[in-house]
Subunit: 249 residues, 2 copies
């Protein structure tokens, strides 16, 4: 019995932002494993397909469950939102492989890329990621807050555009405020800051402000925060970062 496991991302939410490759991969699967709201984005096409919905906080358990199913000969799709390789399930699957049954290393495991949240968020407002940029998860469930602070400081030093994933949750209400405070000490007050909630869905909400007055309480679990580089600016109703430092001729 030869099973398989594919890790996919549904994209940010709207069905039209899921790639056909991902739609085909989930249609082939005998078992779908994922956080309930992400599984709900997958149309029910096969009556024989089994859905294993779980809570959002148990990535490793979910990864192990998926690997066990594949080892038993099932064809499993692990379903993330966005792109599965960016702050999502693909890394958790390989963590589980590394720590788990040696036979899992011989499984047919693939990853399908998708549209990650920062790309959908950027597209909502123009092209704020038009220059060099970085992506940082503000969650300190698995890393030290001092590591996050070091990365924020380096990102300011490098003048990267900064995309912040997981900016806030009920368990971590102060972190985005602390991050903005750190950045205020290193970047200009007029730096554009964008709070983009539920990008790539039908209820996107954008708050465009500046670093000097940005209010962290605007963000929740579904918000992606983008903090501009020194060149990020407004033109018309759009925010964008030019491709380089030199003036447009």
């Amino acid at each position: 019995m030869t099973g398989s496991l594919v890790v996919v991302g549904t994209g940010p939410g709207r069905a039209e932002l899921m790639t056909p490759a991902t739609a085909a991969a989930v249609a082939r699967a005998t078992d779908l494993v994922g956080y309930g709201p992400y599984l709900d984005r997958i149309p029910a096409t096969r009556p024989d397909q089994c859905r294993h919905a779980s809570d959002n906080r148990v990535e490793l358990d979910r990864a192990r469950h998926a690997l066990s199913l594949a080892a038993a000969g099932r064809h499993v799709a692990v379903v993330s939102g966005g792109d599965p390789g960016v702050f999502a399930m693909a890394a958790a699957v390989f963590e589980a492989v590394e720590a788990g049954d040696p036979v899992w290393r011989t499984l047919d495991i693939r990853v399908e890329p998708g549209v990650t949240a920062m790309l959908a968020a950027a597209a909502e407002v123009g092209a704020p990621l038009g220059g060099d940029f970085c992506a940082i998860s503000l969650s300190d469930n698995l890393k030290a807050w001092t590591t996050i602070e070091r990365r924020l400081a380096a990102a300011a030093e490098a003048d990267f555009v900064i995309a912040l994933y997981n900016p806030a949750s009920k368990a971590r209400p102060h972190q985005l405020g602390d991050a903005l405070e750190l950045l205020r000490s290193k970047k200009k007050a007029e730096t554009p800051v964008l709070f983009i909630r539920a990008a790539g869905t039908t209820d996107t909400k954008v708050v465009a402000t500046t670093l000097g007055v940005a209010d962290a309480s605007v963000a929740d679990m579904r918000t992606l925060v983008i903090i501009g580089a020194s060149t990020t600016r407004q033109v018309g109703r759009w925010i964008y970062t030019p491709r380089g430092e030199r003036e447009v001729s």
Copy 2:
């Protein structure tokens, strides 16, 4: 006459990695503007649709042309590869808006997100972007090489996974070598380095090596280079970066 302009990305190459939203946007357009090989990825569905193919080096001219067409009432799709907001046409369009005819600021301009090269490249090898990461274009056509060096140094300091776009071209043969040399002075020799050519196409080629021995001449215009963080590692035949710093329990 009310025209419109949408900036789209075809994804990395395979048709199944272009989002349905992008396919619908290009199908609605009266005019497609883009670099020839990207336009070739768009199926010919409408005989009345006009294709304006151009060279790869003239982003601003192409953006101005597209804006002029939209201002004249046409429905224009500007076609990039990958995601249009990442080292692609969206920023060029807004640069042209800023420097151009004031009426362009009143146009209906939208951006559709897509699968950018680093996501497709990461998916080919596992989950190397599983932790915090940055994306840097090595092209110094529009920014100083010293800026790029500053960003590489900060990325090493922050222990970001580093994705390098535009690592090499005929006009810039030495830059990737210089970048790797800089990183060798700041990161461990055993840091994983991935050269992923033509990710998300049918002729992907991956070279997995380490920073100590990485040979810059492996890269060309179609290569995406990923340099690991301190935690990036191999398991089985995959390369991945764990989500955090703590050990898997």
